[in-house]
Symmetry: C2
Subunit: 436 residues, 2 copies
Amino acid sequence: MKPVKVGLLGLGTVGGGTVNVLRENGDAIAQRLGAPIQIVHASARDLSKARICDTTGIMLTTDPREVVDNPELDVVVELMGGDGIAREMVLRAIANGKHVVTANKMLLAKHGSEVFAAAREKGVMVAFEAAVAGGIPVIKAIREGLAANRIEWLVGIINGTGNFILTAMRDDDREFADVLAEAQRLGYAEADPTFDVEGIDAAHKLTILASIAFGIPPRLENVYTEGITRITRDDVKYADELGYRIKALGIARRTDKGVELRVHPTLIPEGRLIANVDGVNNAVLVKGNMVGPTMYYGAGAGAGPTASAVVADLIDVARGMNAPGDCRVPCLAFQPEAIAELPVLSMDEVETAFYLRMKAVDKPGVLSKISSALSDFQISIEAVIQKEPKHGERQVDLVILTNVVKEAIMNEAMRRLESSDTIAGPIAHIRVEHLD
Amino acid sequence: MKPVKVGLLGLGTVGGGTVNVLRENGDAIAQRLGAPIQIVHASARDLSKARICDTTGIMLTTDPREVVDNPELDVVVELMGGDGIAREMVLRAIANGKHVVTANKMLLAKHGSEVFAAAREKGVMVAFEAAVAGGIPVIKAIREGLAANRIEWLVGIINGTGNFILTAMRDDDREFADVLAEAQRLGYAEADPTFDVEGIDAAHKLTILASIAFGIPPRLENVYTEGITRITRDDVKYADELGYRIKALGIARRTDKGVELRVHPTLIPEGRLIANVDGVNNAVLVKGNMVGPTMYYGAGAGAGPTASAVVADLIDVARGMNAPGDCRVPCLAFQPEAIAELPVLSMDEVETAFYLRMKAVDKPGVLSKISSALSDFQISIEAVIQKEPKHGERQVDLVILTNVVKEAIMNEAMRRLESSDTIAGPIAHIRVEHLD
């Protein structure tokens, strides 16, 4: 096999990490692939900036077009991020007949169908292991390792920042805002944390995972997205008392009525392995109809882990580019002609259990009234925590775990309760999944 | 792509499972691969036996040679087990120019080099995802997903029976023999449980994992193997008190002095994710120099999970067989010419921490004497449990966790202690790994 000539768009954390991986492990990589992988050309916005990598021997430019148009290159690695220039460059690389490796989840979640169609047209590959869960080879696991299965559902802790915050809230008994500020100081959260704490980043990744799991086109707009900003220290403590952990999950499930695609904080039983995935780590639990549940765990971000995935993709692409098209693994796991829309279940139709936290008026018979109001909606109480009123207060924290119920019905029941005189203020609610 | 014609040797649990997976998920598999996979011919020792699968449309024989010699077949799946006829059949299939998929860990651990050399000679593939950790795609993860890394170490819970027994000993506070008998009743353990409880099955799997992680030829004889039969209910309880779990681990680690290859019961900190892998489940934790620790979890045995891996291999082989040889993933992850022996560290040279349980004579100053004897060997005590003597006894259980020390030195220290009058009887010792 001939040396593989690569162009790199972006020399930041992941780009620099990719250069470092190829320098430090280049001999082992060549021993596996049977040929060296060479970064020939790279672009960065500011060439005077200090880098985490040594760029000696790499032709540098500020213009990504120069890289994409370089006729010497076999593969372009897009690590710019965003869906502006990155999209333009990826499409241009494809149009130039180059294979593409990208870590860009937003691009694929929003414009995946366009990108994959263009790649198909030109007979080139688009690889994106680094777009989901950093260094964990979960795209490969679902697309190839579990290829004999019908995937029934998957749930993922796929945003390290969110998981770091929820873990620290529990470990240190602190409030969200407090931990977020610390995460920002430590560099785990961006100055504008919206993408992470509002679930948007996770929604990008879930879009991609659902696409390869079910053979559906990636459509970010189909994912219900709810952040972790309203989770309180009390919620974390009450969940603990009930034997649960609160995790920000991406959930994709195939049901008879349609596909569920949702990102939101979720209570999961503490005995589940994934409930014990802490800190900035990621994990994806995938249920196949033959293999049962399998889980993939590791670092979800960082220069080394993400570059590990980028270079694994480069190795795969290097093998695939010398093989006939039908010997390659299809981008979205299924042959393009088998990719088809599935109906997406609205959140009203989703069935899930609930954790409810409310302020109840401290009067006799309150629990019985609430319980009877819920039972009017066929909602039963699986567990309850009622605390004594705090000093000088007339209201008590009342926490309830319900059975599985259609979300529309729960919303109706909550409205009824909130309008009654037994409850003060709005009811905080978090979905509960048992992952059976 | 043309339909893929497959012959099956063995129609037991995994063979029957493979037929079922292809029947039940055949459409989804063809949508991924772009061609159907057809089992055309199968052999079984006794054709009159009841099967878990429907064999309609499959040509059946009691003679595996007929399958292996069938010119119509592209791939032979060997699910007979053992290294007698199975070895013969695999080599014959290869000689006939057929690709091979096998779940046979013993064959590969003992005769892998012979099998892979023959396959190389004939230009065919040998795939073996199902040989290690059932349905978990851990071979693929190490060989492809982490291909950009130097693998530093891996540890695996790779024998479900052993893990079931250790989990039940802890959950139900029972002794080994008692739980083993139950495991045999439940079908989790064989009538002759030697392979599972003496670590031999795990040693087969570790041989394969180490081979693809480090690029060394598979050599079962290089693996130190120790079973779980001497673990007592007390050990499990004391480990718990100290914040550890006892797991039967396969450990492969690359050090400056050589490779460690060892299977033995091990104390690991309860906070580690892999310490919480319970029951018959398997998990493999792999540390790459770029990606850091990653873990792969799922069912390690059973018809569905193992067949899931067999069929994933069939899909890979179907893609690879129409591609040039240098586009295929090498059997042992590295190109054949890069596979090389590495020195294997003897257990005397291995450095590890220890859990020691001994009967100490109940006299003042005993702990101080033992501690001072250990410190003569530069062994320090990290934690200790000393219980009051049981009613009517003059001896107390003394449990010690040590620092990391060369095994030869620990053996010497234990001999010294055992020959002193402060200790009665032999010292039970279990290695401790912190998995940092």
